[in-house]
C-alpha cells in the first residue's frame, strides 16, 4: 500500500487525535498513526489541521508522531470467506488476531479480512465477448455447504469481457475476469472493496410484503416483521434484548445473518461462537454458522470501532443482498453506537443537543435504517436487508433521545417490558406497547400460505387483550369476585394466551421455534376455547369447572407437547376440548 506522511499529531484526547501540518488529505481517508500504525479515519478537515478518530487504544501516542495517509476510505474486503467468520468493528478477523497476538488484543496488529492463501473453486457463468455491467454474476463459488457465493461485477464496472478464468481453484485476489470498458481494461478478482459509510446501489426498491419468519410467536403472529423491514427492540437491562436477537439469528428464515455485537459483552459473542456451529437450521439441515457473520466490538474494545461496527455489518449485509439473498442484520446495541458518537463528539468539543448527544444523531440513525430494504438487485434478482436494532435506554426510560429518534425511522417496535421480565415472562415483548406497521403488508402472505382465518383470529385476541386491561383495572379496585364469570373468562383466556402462546422458552427443544402452521393452530385452539367456553358459561357452567377440564389444562402445555412436525395432533386436542366442554354442559347446564 502506498502510504505517505500527511501530517503530525498535535493533540491526543482518548480516541480523538488532532493532527497538524496537513497538506493533501481527504475527508474520511483511512490513516495510520505513529510507528505502530494505529488505524484511524479523518473525520474533520480545517485549514492545515485534521481530526482523526482512531480505532485502537491510543496509549503512548504523542505530539509530533507521524500520520500516514492510505489514499482510500475505510472499506471492507468483500468476497468468499466472510461466512462463519468473526470480525471486529473494522473487519479485522479475530481468529487471525488471536494467532498473532494471543488472548489479549494488542495494538497495531492487523490481518487481512479475507484469507489470501485459501483456494476457492470458481465456476464461471459468463464467457469472453459477453457484455457485462455492474451486478452481473461472473461466476459462483460454493462458499459454505448451504450458500453459493455469487461473484458479481462490482458497481461501476461495465463493458465486454476480454478474458474469463476457466473453472478451477483460485485465491480471492487472483484475476478471474478482464472487462474492457470505456475507461480501458479492468481486472476483476473474486474480491472487491467497498467503503462502509456508503450504501451499495440497487436497481430499484420494492414493496415489503413477505414476512421475515422468526419462529417467535409473539413476533410472527402479533407484531410481524417484513423482509427488508426495520424494527427496534428497546428494553432496560436484563429484559431480553440479546436473547431475542439470538433467537431470531438462530431461527429466522433469512438466508444470511450478520450479527453485530456493538459495545456489549464478550461472553455473549463467545456464546454465539460456541452454539451456532452446533445448531442445525430447521429449513436446510445445515449448521447455523454456515450462514452467519459475526462482528464483535465488545464494550471493552475501542469506542471508535464501535461507531464503525454497525456500518461494517450493514455493508456486509448489502453485499450478500446484491447476490440475491435475504439478509437479516442484528445490531446489539444501537445505543452503544449512539453513545460512541456522543463520546467522540464530546471529545471534539462539538455543541451537544439532547443529553449530550450531537445534533446529527437523528440523521445518523435515519441513514443507518435507510440501508434496509427489499430490492431488485443490479443483477435483476430479489434480495433484502432487514435491520433489527436493540436499543438500551438509560434507566429503561423510552422517552430518551435514542429510543425516540429510532422510533421515527423504524416501522416495527417490540417494546420490552420490565414487569414481564421480572415475572420471567419471556420474551418480555409487551403486547400493549408494541406495534408493527407491516401488518397489512404481510396479511395476504399469511392468508394465502398459512390460513385464511389468521387476521381475524389475531384481531380477536388483540381485542380481548385490550378488554382485559380494563377488566384488570376493575379487579384492582374491587377484587375479582365482583366480576361475573363471563367477564372473568376474558381474563382467564388472556392469561391462557399469555402462558400458552406468548411465553416461549428459548431453552426448550420443542418450544424454542414454532412454524407458522403451529402458531396459527395454537392461536385457533385458544380461540376455540374462548368461543366454546363462553357458550358453556352462558349455559350455566362455572368458570371453576371449565378450567378443570383436562383438555383445557393440556392447552397450556401444547407448545411443549405438540412438535412442529405433528400439526395433526391439534385436531385431536380440539376434538377433546369440544368433547370435554360438551360433557360439562351435559352435567351442569
Amino acid at each position: 500500500m502506498n502510504e505517505r506522511i500527511i501530517g503530525q499529531v498535535r493533540r491526543v484526547n482518548g480516541p480523538v487525535i488532532e493532527a497538524m501540518g496537513i497538506g493533501d488529505a481527504r475527508m474520511l481517508e483511512l490513516v495510520k498513526v505513529g510507528e505502530s500504525g494505529l488505524i484511524g479515519e479523518i473525520i474533520k478537515l480545517s485549514g492545515n489541521g485534521a481530526t482523526i478518530q482512531v480505532y485502537e487504544d491510543t496509549t503512548g501516542v504523542a505530539p509530533l508522531d507521524n500520520v500516514y495517509g492510505t489514499g482510500r476510505p475505510l472499506s471492507l474486503e468483500l468476497g468468499p470467506g466472510l461466512l462463519g467468520t468473526i470480525y471486529d468493528g473494522i473487519q479485522r478477523p479475530l481468529d487471525a488476531l488471536l494467532a498473532l497476538s494471543g488472548r489479549f488484543i494488542e495494538r497495531g496488529v492487523s490481518a487481512e479480512a479475507l484469507d489470501r492463501t485459501r483456494l476457492w473453486a470458481f465456476e464461471p457463468r459468463v464467457a469472453v465477448g459477453d457484455e457485462v455491467s455492474a451486478g452481473a454474476v461472473l461466476g459462483v463459488v460454493q462458499e459454505t455447504s448451504r450458500i453459493e457465493h455469487r461473484v458479481c461485477a462490482p458497481p461501476g464496472v461495465s463493458g465486454r469481457l476480454v478474458s474469463v478464468a476457466p473453472a478451477g481453484e483460485y485465491r480471492v485476489d487472483e484475476t478471474i475476469a478482464v472487462v474492457s470498458g470505456p475507461d480501458g481494461e479492468r481486472e476483476l478478482s473474486m474480491m472487491q472493496r467497498w467503503p462502509i459509510r456508503e450504501p451499495r446501489p440497487v436497481a430499484q426498491r420494492k414493496p415489503l410484503d413477505i414476512p421475515l419468519i422468526t419462529g417467535q410467536r409473539v413476533i410472527d403472529t402479533l407484531f410481524p416483521l417484513a423482509k427488508g423491514g426495520t424494527v427496534a427492540i428497546p428494553g432496560g437491562f436484563g429484559t431480553g434484548k440479546t436473547m431475542t436477537q439470538h433467537a431470531i439469528a438462530k431461527w429466522c428464515d433469512a438466508d444470511i445473518i450478520v450479527y453485530i455485537g456493538c459495545g456489549e459483552r464478550g461472553n455473549e459473542m463467545t456464546d454465539v461462537l460456541n452454539e451456532f456451529p452446533k445448531l442445525v437450521d430447521p429449513r436446510t439441515g445445515k449448521s447455523l454458522m454456515e450462514r452467519t457473520i459475526l462482528i464483535a466490538n465488545t464494550s471493552n474494545m475501542p469506542v471508535s470501532a464501535r461507531e464503525a461496527s454497525v456500518y461494517t455489518g450493514v455493508t456486509l449485509a448489502e453485499y450478500y443482498r446484491d447476490q440475491g439473498y435475504h439478509v437479516a442484520v442484528m445490531a446489539d446495541s444501537t445505543s452503544r453506537w449512539a453513545e460512541a458518537l456522543r463520546e467522540l463528539s464530546g471529545r471534539m468539543e462539538e455543541m451537544p443537543a439532547e443529553e449530550g448527544f450531537p445534533a446529527y444523531l437523528p440523521t445518523r440513525i435515519a441513514e443507518f435504517y435507510e440501508r434496509a430494504g427489499y430490492a431488485e438487485t443490479l443483477s435483476g434478482a430479489d434480495g433484502s436487508v432487514t435491520i433489527i436494532g436493540a436499543v438500551s435506554p438509560p434507566g429503561g426510560d423510552f422517552s430518551e433521545p435514542v429510543t425516540q429518534h429510532t422510533k421515527r425511522f423504524v416501522r416495527c417496535f417490540w417494546g420490552l417490558d420490565r414487569q414481564l421480565a421480572n415475572a420471567r415472562h419471556y420474551p418480555a415483548i409487551s403486547w400493549l406497547d408494541s406495534y408493527s406497521e407491516y401488518l397489512g403488508d404481510v396479511r395476504p402472505w399469511w392468508e394465502e400460505r398459512v390460513g385464511p382465518d389468521w387476521a381475524t383470529a389475531r384481531e380477536e385476541i388483540m381485542e380481548l387483550l385490550q378488554k382485559e386491561v380494563r377488566l384488570l383495572q376493575v379487579v384492582k379496585l374491587v377484587g375479582p369476585d365482583a366480576l361475573p364469570d363471563s367477564q372473568r373468562f376474558v381474563i382467564e383466556v388472556c392469561s391462557m394466551f399469555k402462558n400458552a402462546f406468548l411465553q416461549q422458552s428459548a431453552f426448550d427443544d420443542v418450544d424454542r421455534y414454532s412454524t407458522v402452521e403451529k402458531q396459527l393452530r395454537m392461536l385457533l385452539a385458544i380461540m376455540a376455547y374462548w368461543r366454546r367456553g363462553q357458550e358453556a358459561i352462558k349455559r350455566g357452567v362455572t368458570l371453576h369447572k371449565l378450567k378443570r377440564v383436562k383438555a383445557v389444562q393440556d392447552l397450556v402445555k401444547m407448545k411443549f407437547t405438540i412438535p412442529n412436525e405433528s400439526p395433526e395432533e391439534f385436531d385431536r386436542l380440539m376434538a377433546r376440548l369440544e368433547r370435554g366442554i360438551d360433557q360439562l354442559e351435559a352435567i351442569y347446564a
Binding site: E35, G60, A62, D95, F104, N300, P394
Partner: protein, 470 residues
C-alpha cells in the same frame, strides 16, 4: 529510533514548575512530546514522589491526573518526570496474604514482594474468540442465589445495595462459603476497597481470618481518607493481580470490589474539572465504557485453568436502580443481586428482592448433571408465583385481605413462606443446592398443582406429589 524508545530515553528529564493545578489535575507546559496515558512522577517540594497519568497531551500542554492527590503541591515547586510507559504494577502470587494501597504498594509494614511480571494496570481487551463460556456452578450456600440467581465461575455478578444494608455481610458470606461441587480447587480472593471506611476493611479481614483464608487473600485499600482520585486506579491494580493469578498461575480468583459508587464519583469529579460535556446526572458520557473496562476483566480463557469471578458491590444513591451507576453496571454485568430496604426492615437476610435480581449465566450452569434436573423449571415457577404474590399483595392493600379469593390466599401464604423460609437464612447458614431446591418445592406445595404451568408433569410427580403425600 522508534517513538516509544525515544520517549523512554526522555524519561530522565525533569520539568520544574506547573502551569496550573486544579483538583487532582496538574497542567505542565513546554515538555518534550509526551505520550497519551504515560506514567508520570510528580515530585513535591519535600522530594516525595506521587504517581500520575497523562489524560491529555498536545504540543501546548500536558494534563496529568495525580493519583495521590495534589495537596501541598505548589506551582513553582512541582517537578514532573514522564516515564515513557504506562502505569504498571508488579504482580506475583507472593502478594496473597498481604495488604496494599490502591497503587499496589504494601501498607502492612512488610517489604514489597518480588514481582514476577509487571503488566500495564489498564489491561487489554480479551479477544472474544479466546474466551471460554463460563458454565460451572458455584454453590454459595445461599438459597436465593443458588436457587434463583445462580453464580457461575467466571461471572461478574454485582450486589446492588443501599446505605446501611448488609451487602458486606453477604459478600463475605459468599467468599467464605463459595465452593464448586466435586471438591476443592485452587482459589484466591482479591479485595479492592474504594472510599470505604476502615471498619469495612477490618470486617472483611476478620471474616477471612476466621476461616483461615487470609493467606489466600490480597487486599488493595484505598479508604475513605485516601485521596479520592486513587480510587480510579485501585480496581485496575487489583484486577491486574487477579489476571496474573488466574491466567498465569491457574487460580480461581474471586474479586470483591467495594464500593463502585465511590469509584464512579471520582470519575465524575475529574470529568467535571476538565469541563467535559456530561451525560446523565453529571457523569461523563464514557462512564459505560470505563466501567466495561473493569467488568469485562472477568471470565475464563480457553486452555487456561484459572478464572476471574467478580462480585462488585455498589450502593444505589437513594436506592434508585435507575441511577446511572447501577443502570450502566446492570447493562454490562451478567446479572445483579438487588437488595430491598423493605425486606431488610422485616428482618429478612439476605434482603434480596426476588424479581429484579437476575443471573444471566444461570441458564447454562443449572439442570441435570450440574445442579438438579428440576432446577430450571423450579426457578422459573418460583419467579412466576412470587411475581403474582406481589400483585395479590397490592390488591389486598386496596380491597382488604379478607376479600381475596381462596386461591389468592394461598398465594399470600406462599409469599410468606418464600420470604421467611426460602430467602431468609442465617449469616452462617450454608445450604446445599438440594436443600435449597427442596425448600423451593415445599413453597410450591402451598399452591394447587394446576397453577404450576412452568414445571412438567414429571417434575410434579417427582417433587410435588412424590414427597407431598408423606
Amino acid at each position: 529510533m522508534r517513538d516509544e524508545e525515544r520517549r523512554v530515553l526522555m524519561s530522565g528529564r525533569e520539568y520544574v514548575g506547573a502551569a496550573r493545578i486544579d483538583g487532582p489535575l496538574v497542567f505542565v507546559r513546554g515538555t518534550h512530546p509526551v505520550g497519551y496515558r504515560e506514567l508520570v512522577e510528580c515530585v513535591d517540594a519535600d522530594g516525595n514522589v506521587r504517581l500520575g497519568m497523562v489524560l491529555d497531551t498536545s504540543d501546548d500542554a500536558v494534563v496529568v491526573q495525580v493519583f495521590e492527590g495534589t495537596d501541598g503541591l505548589t506551582m513553582p515547586g512541582t517537578r514532573t518526570r514522564f516515564r515513557g510507559r504506562p502505569l504498571t504494577v508488579g504482580v506475583s502470587d507472593r502478594m496473597l496474604g498481604r495488604v496494599f494501597d490502591g497503587l499496589g504498594r504494601p501498607v502492612d509494614g512488610g517489604p514489597a514482594p518480588l514481582a514476577d511480571d509487571e503488566p500495564d494496570v489498564n489491561g487489554r481487551p480479551i479477544n472474544p474468540t479466546a474466551r471460554e463460556y463460563p458454565r460451572d456452578f458455584i454453590q454459595t450456600g445461599i438459597s436465593v442465589i443458588d436457587g434463583m440467581n445462580t453464580l457461575i465461575r467466571g461471572q461478574k455478578l454485582p450486589i446492588f445495595s443501599g446505605n446501611g444494608l448488609p451487602h458486606n455481610e453477604l459478600a463475605a458470606q459468599i467468599a467464605r462459603q463459595a465452593k464448586l461441587r466435586g471438591g476443592a480447587t485452587d482459589f484466591a480472593v482479591v479485595f479492592a476497597a474504594m472510599g470505604v471506611k476502615h471498619d469495612v476493611a477490618r470486617f472483611f479481614m476478620r471474616s477471612f481470618e476466621e476461616t483461615g483464608a487470609l493467606d489466600n487473600v490480597a487486599l488493595f485499600l484505598s479508604l475513605a481518607d485516601a485521596p479520592s482520585i486513587e480510587r480510579i486506579i485501585t480496581p485496575r491494580t487489583a484486577l491486574t493481580l487477579a489476571e496474573h493469578l488466574a491466567y498465569d498461575r491457574g487460580l480461581h480468583v474471586l474479586v470483591v470490589m467495594t464500593d463502585m459508587s465511590n469509584y464512579c464519583e471520582s470519575l465524575r469529579e475529574i470529568s467535571t474539572l476538565r469541563g467535559e460535556i456530561p451525560s446523565r446526572k453529571g457523569y461523563p458520557g464514557y462512564l459505560y465504557s470505563d466501567l466495561a473496562e473493569l467488568y469485562e476483566r472477568s471470565g475464563m480463557i480457553r486452555g487456561v485453568k484459572g478464572s476471574i469471578t467478580q462480585l462488585p458491590i455498589l450502593t444505589m444513591p437513594n436506592d434508585d436502580i435507575s441511577h446511572p451507576i447501577p443502570d450502566l453496571s446492570g447493562y454490562i454485568t451478567e446479572g445483579q443481586i438487588v437488595f430491598e430496604r423493605e425486606m431488610n426492615g422485616r428482618g429478612i437476610y439476605p434482603p434480596v428482592a426476588g424479581l429484579p435480581s437476575l443471573s444471566r449465566l444461570m441458564k447454562d450452569g443449572i439442570g441435570g448433571g450440574m445442579t438438579r434436573e428440576d432446577h430450571p423449571h423450579l426457578a422459573s415457577q418460583l419467579f412466576a408465583a412470587y411475581s403474582y404474590v406481589k400483585d395479590v399483595r397490592n390488591l389486598a392493600s386496596v380491597i382488604g385481605e379478607e376479600e381475596l379469593t381462596p386461591l389468592d390466599h394461598q398465594y399470600m401464604e406462599f409469599g410468606e413462606f418464600f420470604e421467611r423460609r426460602f430467602v431468609n437464612q442465617r449469616r452462617d447458614e450454608d445450604r446445599t443446592i438440594e436443600q435449597t431446591l427442596d425448600l423451593g418445592w415445599e413453597a410450591l406445595k402451598l399452591l394447587p398443582a394446576e397453577e404450576l404451568h412452568r414445571v412438567t408433569d414429571e417434575e410434579l410427580d417427582a417433587y410435588y406429589h412424590g414427597n407431598g403425600q408423606s
